[in-house]
């Protein structure tokens, strides 16, 4: 094929430009750390990367939810433990009251029972972040001064799994913990107080039985809270592991292998130098220089 100097010049320009393009591509990959910068670099990988990113965000949110759940459960646990201890004290008082004592001693016991009843009432009405801890999803105090227990039955749930799974209930309802209606703890404590004041031994004995029932009820709730705590902690661990896996997969899909890219950059640099050298010799002297 007939070759003219114009052709050689045009070819040189084209080769140089193509070399530079490749060099630039590797450079920008190294600078950004990413193999896939726009969707068109690798459309299927880009789609996968979008899915993974969404999953990562959902996972991070679940971790936040788990932390929030743990806080709820710990507060509830603390309050219930305190309540159990105070009930234990009440039982002691009741047992002492059952042993025939003088009126003034029984009155003193009744007074202490009354004050513990108020303490328990304020525990039942305690607030967490401005809302009633044992009140479900309502805003009203679950235990009124008369001792009636009313909550709206709502459950406070937290998502601690992937976006569609694992939801835990983190609250305890006052009706479950303290009983309702005639069997409510506060009604029973009122009865104990009355029995102590009046020296009603049978009444005191009955009250002790009811206090035991109340303690069991609280114990059941504590067990539930404990079990939920365990679930939340294992979920926490699992979510952290999943986060690592997702992050690794995302890196594989969209990030560039640094070591590989550095080697590639070196190769491109050498190739570019070689191209420049070849082009430097591309336009050989023409016949003009040789004719006298």
């Amino acid at each position: 094929m007939r070759v003219t100097s114009e052709m050689m010049a045009a070819n040189s320009v084209r080769r140089l430009s193509s070399r530079l393009q490749q060099y630039e591509r590797v450079q920008s990959q190294l600078a950004t750390g990413r193999r896939v910068l726009r969707a068109s670099d690798d459309p299927s990988s880009a789609g996968r990367a979008m899915t993974l990113r969404t999953q990562l965000r959902a996972n991070d949110q679940a971790l936040r939810n788990a932390g929030d759940a743990r806080a709820w459960l710990e507060v509830g646990d603390g309050k219930l433990q305190t309540a159990v201890q105070r009930l234990h004290r009440v039982r002691d008082l009741a047992v002492r009251g059952a042993n025939a004592l003088g009126a003034s001693e029984r009155n003193a016991l009744a007074l202490e029972v009354s004050s513990i009843r108020e303490e328990l009432r304020s525990i039942a009405n305690s607030r967490y972040r401005g809302r009633p801890l044992f009140g479900g999803t309502g805003d009203a105090d679950p235990v009124d001064p008369a001792g009636a227990v009313v909550d709206d039955g709502g459950a406070v749930t937290r998502r601690i799994g992937d976006a569609t799974g694992e939801v835990v209930t983190v609250n305890v309802l006052a009706s479950d913990a303290f009983g309702t209606g005639a069997d409510s703890l506060f009604v029973r404590l009122d009865e104990l107080e009355t029995a102590l004041k009046s020296g009603d031994d049978a009444g005191i004995t009955a009250a002790i039985g009811h206090i035991d029932t109340a303690r069991e009820r609280l114990g059941t709730q504590l067990a539930t809270v404990g079990a939920t705590m365990n679930r939340v902690e294992s979920a926490d661990q699992r979510l952290t592991d999943i986060r690592l896996t997702l992050r690794g997969e995302l890196a594989q899909v969209q990030d560039v292998d640094m070591a590989e890219a550095v080697v590639e950059l070196q190769t491109q640099e050498v190739a570019y130098q070689a191209t420049l050298g070849a082009i430097g010799r591309a336009l050989p002297p023409s016949l003009v220089s040789f004719l006298r």
């Binding site: 052709m7 670099d41 979008m50 401005g130 999803t137």
Partner: protein, 412 residues
């Protein structure tokens, strides 16, 4: 008689050599001129005269200076250039469409992820004014981003339309110029015999100019060109400027690619608005279509749940947070990967076409281009021919001189 014929013969030799030198110097001067075709002198020996001993030659005639142009290579290059220009234009415009979406780092998907997170934070703190404000801000960001993409595409469409209009103006100017040259080079009534090149010498420079104009015209429109044997070219009438070539690529982008992308964006937006507004609670969170989305709800009016059930109920917020895995996210993925695939395929196509163009261009340059070495050799041979012809003339002159001045002077 034969001697003066010999003089005249050497004169024709000198003239031919001079024209050869002129042509070679013209070629060398135009070695780097774009679209210049190398020229060659065509020589023919003159008709002989009938002498006493038979026909004797009378020298050389310069028939013409002809451009060594290969019309087939022209057609091949123009066709491939038209295809490549169209694909290149389309790939460029599609690349801008993709850049405007800003995915994956600064696009709608980022704002959507933040929105789902904000809804979930609302389930943790259903009555917090700060969290509610966060939700409304996230909604506003999503609306702004979608509107931004739509506005960006509208601006791009306006640019492309302007580009097409400017291209059409250029096409009109080119057609006028080509017709102008046609008028200048036209041979009336050529018939079927070869053209008499003495009466109608080849207008090489005009023909080169017309070929340059045709190159550009075909690059822009991909039109076909018919050569006639009266030295004119005929273009299709009416000439559709957007049927192919660069303008065809722009047109394809406007009518197909951009329209498809817009339809997908609208579908995604409609789905998102429907899902958000149709969630339990029936709160109108987003209103409008892509390009004019608004957030009608305020932070104080936003409800996390049904207050009739409880002040801290979170059913609405939970349902909204659950949309993270719903159809809007999937539709957005389809939109983004769809655009990505189209851009990638247009770029690949443009690159492949560009290789074809380069090959055709090299072939054409090989046939039409000036090789300095060849011209040097031409120069040297014409120079020698000139020297030789001058020498012949001198010789004949001296012979004549003897005949004229020194014959028959016996006794003088």
């Amino acid at each position: 008689m034969s001697n003066s014929v010999g003089l005249y013969t050497s004169l024709t030799g000198i003239r031919a050599a001079q024209i050869g030198l002129d042509t070679a110097s013209n070629n060398v001067a135009n070695a780097n001129t774009a679209g210049y075709t190398r020229q060659r002198v065509e020589l023919r020996d003159r008709p002989p005269y009938a002498s006493a001993i038979g026909p004797l030659g009378t020298g050389v005639d310069v028939v013409t200076v002809r451009r060594l142009r290969d019309a087939f290579l022209d057609t091949r290059l123009r066709t491939t250039t038209a295809g490549a220009a169209g694909e290149q234009a389309r790939a460029e415009l599609l690349g801008t469409v993709e850049a405007i979406t800003g995915e994956p780092d600064a696009g709608i998907s980022v704002e959507l992820d933040q929105l789902w997170d904000a809804f979930e934070d609302l389930t943790l703190e259903p009555t917090s004014p700060a969290v509610k404000q966060q939700v409304v801000s996230a909604l506003q960001s999503v609306a702004d981003r979608i509107n931004g993409v739509s506005a960006g595409w509208t601006a791009l469409e306006a640019d492309a339309i302007e580009r097409r209009a400017a291209g059409i103006d250029e096409v009109n100017a080119l057609v006028t110029a080509i017709e102008d040259i046609n008028r200048q080079v036209e041979i009336p009534d050529p018939g079927n015999e070869p053209v008499d090149l003495q009466r109608f010498p080849l207008p090489n420079q005009l023909l080169d100019e017309r070929d340059r104009l045709l190159d550009r015209l075909v690059e822009l429109t991909g039109t076909g060109v018919t050569r006639n044997n009266d030295r004119t070219v005929t273009l299709p009438d009416p000439l559709d400027p957007v049927a192919g070539g660069e303008l065809g690529g722009v047109e394809r982008f406007l009518t197909t690619d951009l329209a498809t992308a817009r339809t997908q964006l609208d579908a995604f937006t409609t789905e998102l608005v429907a899902q958000l507004n149709g969630a339990p609670g029936g709160q109108t969170l987003l209103d409008g279509t892509a390009g004019s989305l608004t957030v009608p709800i305020t932070a104080t009016a936003l409800l996390a749940g049904d207050t009739a059930v409880g002040a801290y109920d979170t059913t609405y917020a939970e349902a909204l947070a659950g949309l993270r895995n719903g159809t809007p996210a999937a539709e957005l993925r389809t939109l983004v990967t769809g655009i990505g695939q189209r851009v990638a395929s247009a770029e690949r196509s443009a690159a492949a076409q560009s290789e074809l163009v380069h090959a055709a261009q090299m072939a054409r340059r090989s046939a039409h281009g000036v090789s300095i070495d060849e011209e040097m050799i031409s120069l040297v041979s014409y120079q020698r021919a000139l020297e030789a012809a001058s020498r012949v003339m001198t010789t004949i002159d001296q012979a004549l001189d003897v005949l004229v001045n020194r014959t028959g002077v016996v006794g003088r």
